[in-house]
Chain length 204, copies 2
Amino acid sequence: MTSAQPATAKGRETRERIIRAAASLVAERGVLGTSLDDVRARAHASKSQLYHYFADRDDLMRAVARAASDDVVGGQAGLFERLDTIDGLRAWAQALVTLQHTRNAKGGCPIGSLAGQLAEQDEGARLELADGLDRWETAIRQGLERMAARGELHPGADPSALAQNTLAAVQGGLLLTQVRRDPNQLRSALNGAMKAILAARAVS
Amino acid sequence: MTSAQPATAKGRETRERIIRAAASLVAERGVLGTSLDDVRARAHASKSQLYHYFADRDDLMRAVARAASDDVVGGQAGLFERLDTIDGLRAWAQALVTLQHTRNAKGGCPIGSLAGQLAEQDEGARLELADGLDRWETAIRQGLERMAARGELHPGADPSALAQNTLAAVQGGLLLTQVRRDPNQLRSALNGAMKAILAARAVS
DNA sequence: AGCGGACTGGACTGGCCGGTCCAGTGTGTG
DNA sequence: CACACACTGGACCGGCCAGTCCAGTCCGCT
């Protein structure tokens, strides 16, 4: 059974409120550190509302995984448009690093954190997270492909591989940032990824 | 209060057995998915033994984090010795990829997984994991430094930055591998890191 | 042998947690 | 306006879980 889709505006709002409450609690305390009573309290909802909109706890967590994917990828939408220039890539990388500074290097990447907690426990959640990573990597790849189409990368360059390595650098850099409480870990990892992209530029 | 150090050989063995049982359960079910009763059963120990050797649940999990660090870093000791040659680096990278194949791309990196579950909850555990990552990165850096000392890297090369980026590639690659259930994600990320090292070789 | 501390077994407790249930109240439609 | 159904409140239950407690047993040492 999957989550019941609300039939009214009010229902949709309640469902959203539950997911947002659950997502914020999960970000603070982790998946298993979040009880349905906690969610119920923060969402100002009752137990039966939770079970009206979600089949069970796992179903709710799947919705949280999807919401986290949407937030992370959606939050970068404006920056994604400019990933077809070196300046745009730098601006995007800088935004990620700045965000880690404002967060005091805490929390890491919501997708990455959830991956460690859900990937081995719930196949549906794993697929939601994989979808988020795919959308993220696609945005990077498409930026590089637009550069290639304009002849700004040399013919042998592989936008797919560069995008995949860049995403790996983001995730790895964020993990090191989180464990070491040092945003420079992400900056350095992104510098490395940037170098690979710069090396793929066409000699003009 | 920290864990009581056993005074006898028998005590040391019991303590070890508990940590191993806890570590394997945590690897299977996650930190909060593992109850002390589970640990007690798998370790063939009693509740009072758990509380004799560990102050509380968090203290045990800190010991698990340390054991995971030791296992991951210790398990690569033989490969670390040869990180001062391109062949040695390739062998090390290949071993990591092969391990993911044999594990069917499941589980990710024990240190990385625990990071997502413990880093924000328990400062002591975070420090144990940071220590594991430091030892790992140091091994890579020292290999590159030996290459540099032999004049095989060009003078501008930065072994510290290369080692840090390589570790980020490993962690990011493992996360992508785990979420996508595809060991090639790690292989590709390591290829990227390798390229950066190859580009830093002295022109001979 | 016998002392003291390290070590062990396992019953017990109070609280929390996922999930159920039912008696309602709102609300859009015919 | 009335009917059906979406939605809501909250009491309740059985099970699990971290942590406590005490009555022991083992073991090194003198």
